[in-house]
């Protein structure tokens, strides 16, 4: 029996929380270099809250869009900082993008990644190259669009998306921060990868992993 799109999405959020728990100390360490050292903790609180909110959802009746909007509220109600509004807006936008979909095929995944990155961009008003999580989400979304356009297989599609995300995260080390707390460091932020970008790449890896292990 094939796993419903709703359940795959719920599993994605479980995987995201797991990967954040694994990376928590590393993320805080990266943040300690150019921020205030709490990014791992913030993300951990957020994704735990998302999964707590999702555990109250009946996955047999909920739509994929319900999963994303529940995740958005869970994240927003638990996380302040900049991360709270940014991911909450991204997930809410993704919920809208998947409103009429009950399949989580690659086109739907492309729309979801695109909506998350647009939501983050609109809320934070950052641009590419500002040394933020957008330097991961935007190229990942672009890779997804290109992947669907060129009919990539599922593993190749996710490989391309993951690569774009990882390259984006690595590239932030060569950028000067212009947004958020790290912006105050200006050129002193050079050489340090942006913790929000690194966590974004980890989240995308978790999304890819959950999608690739989807029972057909």
């Amino acid at each position: 029996m094939s796993e419903t799109a709703t359940r795959v999405l719920a599993r994605m959020f479980e995987r995201m929380s797991e990967v954040i728990e694994t990376e928590k100390d590393h993320l805080s360490e990266l943040d300690g270099a150019i921020g205030d050292g709490d990014h791992g903790i913030t993300m951990s609180i957020g994704f735990k809250a998302v999964n707590a909110a999702l555990s109250t959802l009946d996955l047999d009746t909920a739509s994929p869009s319900d999963v994303l909007s529940t995740a958005a509220s869970g994240f927003l109600n638990a996380v302040g900082a900049s991360t709270g509004p940014l991911y909450a807006t991204g997930f809410r936008r993704a919920a809208q993008a998947l409103a009429d979909r009950d399949q989580l095929d690659l086109a739907a995944c492309r729309d979801m990644l695109g909506a998350i990155s647009e939501g983050i961009r609109d809320r934070g008003k950052a641009q590419r190259g500002d040394k933020t999580m957008l330097d991961v989400w935007l190229p990942a979304a672009e890779a997804a669009t290109a992947g669907v356009a060129s009919n990539l297989s599922k593993p190749d599609f996710w490989k391309a998306v993951e690569n774009a995300a990882e390259n984006g995260a690595a590239a932030t080390a060569t950028m000067i921060a212009t947004k958020g707390r790290a912006a105050r460091l200006r050129e002193r932020s050079l050489g340090h990868a942006d913790p929000g970008a690194v966590s974004a790449a980890a989240l995308i890896k978790a999304i890819a992993g959950a999608s690739c292990t989807q029972a057909e």
Binding site: D38, T42, A78, V79, G80, S82, G84, R123, R181, R184
Partner: protein, 330 residues
């Protein structure tokens, strides 16, 4: 770490619990445990006054809750903006039917969360106005004042906004008074030692012994220069110069002065600084109406101090004299 904590992850929760127990004659906790409310708020027919910010700055922000000051305060994690939900709940708690003004500091997270909370409050039919504090001189040049951070000048903004609201003024009048207060404030911080978030366990920035960071922010944001630690007299002179050079005040202007420790600097050193601060301000032909000295706006156990100078006019003088009843004497 030589710290009085139970669980690093519960620092904020435990702080708020102890605070509310100590000051139950002045404040109460909202249903949302991350919102502290003046005991009798909301006041019908009065503009509600709200702020919020990360924890670790005590007595800011919660300590300024009370009569003729803040009606409700949203509490964030250490050094991290409160959630949009907490700001929204604070707005609701403060709403006496005449609108609510949110007076907060210029940080990316606070800006976004207040914006989202304002939208949520609009759905409840609550009119919200905002003033964003940007008094930290070294965080951006004067021509980019909108990029400057909010620091201890926020206290004057709350004091003036809270006092104006207590007169029964309209939402727009309260907003304008608070805006004028922060426009008239300039602040500078000097850091001598870093601070540690308990859940992180090590200092989140470095200040080498024997040096100081001039222009440091409230979370250790780097200042304009790192230099050899000088005498209190030289440091104070530098602080006054940076603050007043940014603020072209006519001779004879009356000012309010706030010297705050950043958490781990003993009070006596603040008095040592003030000895020179007072002389320097007076030497520029300004008249000090009142000085506040103490730990008014801290950064955990950071070693250092901030200086805030607010230029006064007749309106601000009247409002500054309004008595407040919060946990901090102002």
């Amino acid at each position: 770490m030589q710290r009085f904590i139970n669980d690093p992850d519960l620092v904020v929760e435990d702080t708020v619990k102890g605070f509310v127990k100590a000051h139950s004659d002045i404040v109460r906790l909202a249903e949302n445990p991350r919102v502290v409310v003046a005991r009798e708020a909301p006041f019908a027919g009065k503009v509600g006054v709200v702020t919020g910010g990360g924890s670790g700055h005590e007595p800011a922000f919660i300590g300024y809750t009370g009569r003729n000051m803040l009606d409700a305060v949203a509490v964030g994690e250490l050094f991290s903006s409160p959630t949009a939900k907490s700001f929204h709940d604070a707005i609701r708690e403060a709403n006496g039917g005449k609108g609510v003004v949110v007076l907060y500091g210029n940080y990316a997270g606070d800006n976004m969360n207040v914006k989202m909370a304002t939208k949520l409050a609009a759905k409840d039919g609550i009119e919200v106005a905002t003033v964003v504090a940007n008094d930290d001189v070294c965080s951006a040049p004067i021509e980019e004042r909108e990029k400057r951070r909010g620091v201890a000048g926020e206290i004057f903004m709350w004091k003036i906004g809270g006092a104006k609201a207590a007169t029964g003024a309209s939402l727009e009048e309260v907003r304008a008074a608070a805006q004028k207060a922060i426009d008239n404030c300039r602040s500078i911080g000097v850091g001598l030692g870093p601070c540690t978030l308990p859940a992180v366990g090590h200092p989140n920035f470095k200040i080498e012994p024997g040096t100081m960071e001039v222009g440091i922010g409230h979370h250790g944001e780097p200042g304009v220069r790192v230099e050899t630690l000088k005498t209190a007299e030289e440091v104070a002179r530098d602080m006054v110069k940076i603050v007043l050079d940014d603020h072209d005040l006519p001779e004879g202007t009356e000012v309010a002065v706030l010297v705050s420790g950043l958490g781990a600097t003993p009070l006596n050193e603040l008095y040592i600084l003030n000895d020179t601060i007072e002389s320097e301000i007076s030497a520029r032909g300004l008249k000090i109406r009142k000085t506040w000295i103490g730990n008014y706006f801290t950064s955990l156990e950071m070693v250092g101090a901030t200086l805030t100078v607010m230029a006064l006019d007749d309106d601000l003088k009247t409002l500054l004299d309004v008595e407040t009843r919060c946990t901090i004497i102002l």
